[in-house]
Symmetry: C2
Subunit: 97 residues, 2 copies
Amino acid sequence: MLKVIAQDFIRLDAIETVLPLYRELVELTRLEPLNVSYELFVDQEDPGHFIFVEEWPDRAALDAHCATEHFTRLVPQIDAHQRAADTYIQMRRVFPA
Amino acid sequence: MLKVIAQDFIRLDAIETVLPLYRELVELTRLEPLNVSYELFVDQEDPGHFIFVEEWPDRAALDAHCATEHFTRLVPQIDAHQRAADTYIQMRRVFPA
């Protein structure tokens, strides 16, 4: 199990531009056979701070996601509106069930 | 719905000390009637970087959690071993189901 937190920092004047790109990215990623979960949140104190909370079976599944047509097409379009570099944390559960 | 990411940065020489405190905090928090989910992860690249991913029905439930006996007893014991200040993000879903 691989849990991921990916954080994007988008210019406030570009939020309406990125929202449909995020929607397509979320919808298509959830169709990937290896995706366990893929949720997008926004910081209550910063409407340009978007946070993905993702779960994948392993690193190979995450790598496959990053190579999909929808990822390689949509993520650069989103990143064009960044105000700061995105960040990623790859994590494992501390107390597995 | 309120989603929370809380990040702790623990001194590497204190990891074995904080793990049982985290375990008790996770177990008792999950027993809170208003808790939706409460999971603890660790950064694959930093064994002292612990990340809670939490879900609560609303801010009042989170406030009640922060006032519980287990939170007010255990969190200061954990924070005594911090190497940097903890951080919190309160979030909402971008595309609710």
